[in-house]
């Protein structure tokens, strides 16, 4: 037991090394402007289409076993006629100090050199530990192997693994698109341009609420947006250091009620 704890602490240590983050080749970051987001769910369907996220059907939805990697949380505050509704898209926050990573007994989830929190499906043995450690509730478990009714399977994206029963999954920041952009840049002997990587959700978002880019690049859009006075991170007090930055919604009387109805 003691040894196990030591191991965990050992792993946490790297986060204390000054300048650790600057060592990343890229620091992929998403900025989501909640004053633009209208809650339309285009990003949700775009992600499903890009990432081979299965449809689970009504019954499994009822069991809260949907597999969506991104969801729109909606909060309704106040009573008629003073009702305030707020939306927020939530996907894996790709935490710099990811609680899920310290938990996995088989290293199925780890941090890569780009600052991404990655999930290795082949290693995952389905202990569910990471999902219980994640404060953002973004990890999804394959309780079954979901079959697509033919010919819907013809739509499956060949760049993304089709997951099977017993495996944990979650948003990857569309790592296949990052990969493709890197390859293209390498072929053309240049570095990746700002805006060249567009995850499916970002690409589709009609209001332009989401921006994706490299925080290591001071000329990037995300770098500039992150200077906004409206910026905050989700449940920041947990110190998980998310790579998703939200910009506060502008709204009268929007503060969340501290008491229940």
């Amino acid at each position: 037991m003691g040894k196990f704890l030591d191991k965990i602490l050992e792993r946490f240590k790297i986060y204390r090394i000054p300048g650790y983050y600057e060592k990343y080749d890229h620091k992929w970051t998403m900025v989501i402007d909640l004053d633009r987001c209208n809650g339309c769910e285009a990003c949700v369907v775009a992600c499903n289409a890009e990432n081979n996220v299965p449809v689970v059907g009504k019954e499994e939805c009822g069991n809260k076993r949907t597999l969506n990697w991104i969801r729109i949380e909606r909060y309704v505050e106040g009573e008629y006629p003073n009702v305030k509704v707020k939306f927020i898209p939530i996907m894996c926050q790709h935490c710099g100090k990811a609680p899920c990573e310290t938990a996995c007994p088989v290293y199925a989830t780890y941090h890569n050199q780009d600052g991404l929190n990655v999930q290795v499906y082949n290693r995952c043995v389905g202990t569910f530990t990471c999902a219980t450690y994640c404060p953002y509730d973004v990890r999804r478990f394959n309780w079954f192997t979901y079959k697509r009714d033919e010919p819907l399977n013809q739509q499956l994206n060949p760049d993304v693994t089709v997951r099977e029963m017993g495996v944990m999954e979650k948003c990857t920041f569309c790592i296949q698109r990052i990969r493709a952009a890197k390859d293209r840049a390498k072929d053309e002997n240049r570095s990746i341009r700002d805006g060249e990587v567009q995850p499916a959700c970002v690409q589709s978002c009609p209001t332009g609420a989401m921006t994706f880019g490299d925080m290591n690049d001071p000329d990037s859009k995300v770098f500039k947006l992150a200077k906004s006075q409206r910026k905050y991170k989700l449940l920041e007090e947990l110190n998980a250091d998310p790579s998703v930055i939200y910009l506060k919604r502008v709204m009268k009387d929007g503060s969340s009620a501290t008491h229940e109805e």
Partner: protein, 755 residues
Amino acid sequence: MLNRRDFLKLVGVGGAGAAAGFALGEKSKNPSAELIPYLVPPEDIIPGVANWYTSVCAQCSAGCGIIVRVMEGRAKKIEGNPLHPINKGKLCARGQASLQALYNPDRIKNPLKRKGERGKGEFQEITWEQGIAMLSENLSSLRNNKRETEKLYLLTSSIRGHLNSFLENFIKAYGSSNYLQYELFQHENLLLANNIAFGQDTLPYYDIENTKFLLSLGADFLNTWVSPVNYSQGYGHMRQGRPGIRGKVVQIEPRLSLTGANADEWVPIKPGTEGLLALGMAYAILEQGYYKGRDAQEWKNILNKYHPKDVAVLTEVDERRIRALAKEFAVNKPSLAIGGENVASYENGASQLIAVNILNHLAGNIGKNGGVISNPKGASLSNRRGAIKKITAFAKDASNGKIKTLILYNANPVFTTPKTMKIEDAINNIPFIVSLSGSMDESTAMADLILPTHTPLEDWGDDFAEPSVGYSIATVMQPAVSPVFNTRNAGDIFIDVAEKIGGAIKKEVPWNSFDAFLKDSWKKIYDKNKGIVIQETTFDEFWDNLLAKGWWRLPDISSLKPGHISTKGINVYLQKEPSKFDGDDKNYPFYLCLYPHSGYLDGRGANLPWLQEMPDPMTSVVWGVWVEMNPKTAQGMGIKNGDMVSVESPYGNINIPAYLYPGIRPDTVSIPIGQGHRLYGRYAADRGVNPIEILPFKVDPRSGAIPLNSTRVKITARRDAPGNMVKMEGSTREFGRKIVETVTPDEFSKMGMEG
């Protein structure tokens, strides 16, 4: 010149080594249906390399441009065309999901002939030759024996572009004048209101992007109304795209829509009085002297019946609030008022929308950036005005035996008309029904012959978006993949039939295929504009560039001046009193407010599993339907969240689970349209109810619109039945967790440019 390759580079999607060989002008013959990919790779298929094809989205009538990612002959992903002026690279959830229309397992895979009794759904597969022969023989006999050509009716969904002119040609050559288009949301009242007010029978471009104050009367413009992706982009920009300026949105509607949820203020107005509020605001603007026109006094005389004090009583909106809104609307320039589906759907919807036009006129928003910008007539090149009005005449003709043969194309009137209209019985009187359709919907199931058509991703065509963005544009639809099943292009079916019938008809339709006709039509456009707005020296070059870019700006046929509303004669069109509702308020205490569902729209999206499993943005309900009730009202009736209730109008009743929603007036209940299919494939069939069924048979005599919001209902708890509603929400409260953090508008303006 921009070629396909460069285009792909420009939009940043081309694979580095992609030899994007590109079957220009020909159907890309790749083998997903007959051959195994890799065995005989056609020239434009390189294993592992994606090609992107431009096309147009057909999930609603906005006409967004799309690009389709194709690998090994299969469509993988749809994205917005970044160069397209309507959606600029973006798509809504419906557009994203349209891939599942292509690969839907319940598509009709072969031509079918009715076997058993009509409407029982028993069919047998036949060959295309047999199918074409059946239709041709029927049309020949109608024509030769009795010269009953007028007894052929063609009923389609609302189609624009050259397929529309092609069908017009065919029907005329055949000798019939009965070609009509019907869809639930065709904006008839908005067109009528614009025609009466400005003399412009068009839908304008609403410049949401550049406005400072947006007053939306029941327009769910971020979700389903008219051109949602374009408006959502405008919205994003209007909120946070202009440093130091943040536009304000006020939403006026009895039920808080998705758009309302994003507005700064919600005014829960009494249903059917929205137009009166607009006129009351107009009067306040005049009274305060914000309108400087020479006819100010005339306007004042006309509008003095709408004193805010009186309007306040009718609308249940405080007089001070009406005046405050009027002031904000007049002072913040440019401002913009829009009147949406919710308002258009009252029995006097057109008059209420005219009031919205007047408001824009008095605030000086017409023809201004950030206001209402006219679209040129050219934008509506191939749109069929007036065809809508005929749906009632159609039902009558069908009942009276005036129709001998009906050809349906992608139209589902059985699902989208009130039961009281008895369209099913009417159609049943028609001796021969043919449906050209991709899926077994409620109307297609009544057919004697089904000729399955391509989905847009397999098809050739074009579209002339209406409304456009201030100038006219055409978008080309090209096949991204070869047909998945044994289906055909609708135009090709008519060409084959013309061939069989021969004679004058064949002469009118001399093309070998629809895509030849399409190319021919574009050749005419090319010849007319060559050297003027077209720089390409050959048509082939022009056509290649067109397909690569996906759209083209048409020279405007006639440019319209900013509309001016004259006080003369406008009086008769003004809303005089609140809308009328069917059902007395004693027995039917609730206003019924119907709205198109985010995913299913008028029902067409219900067969796509991604949309079924997409949580409704406001309620989080999946795979089902619900009625929204104010929690206080429900509590008083002992109804809990998810309980089954009966919703009864004077014309019928439906059982439906209740969703307790604080964003709705206590005297109103609301149901989304789109579920309740009896058929339409495994994902859509038997999921809840279709609320259109309990509406009265009423049609606006001037516009032809079916007033969806003109009925009152009563609600009774049905303790005997389980609700069976699945919603994805956990708690809807934040419990002070500060998940969605906010700043007030004041704090925000103090942030200045760094906000």
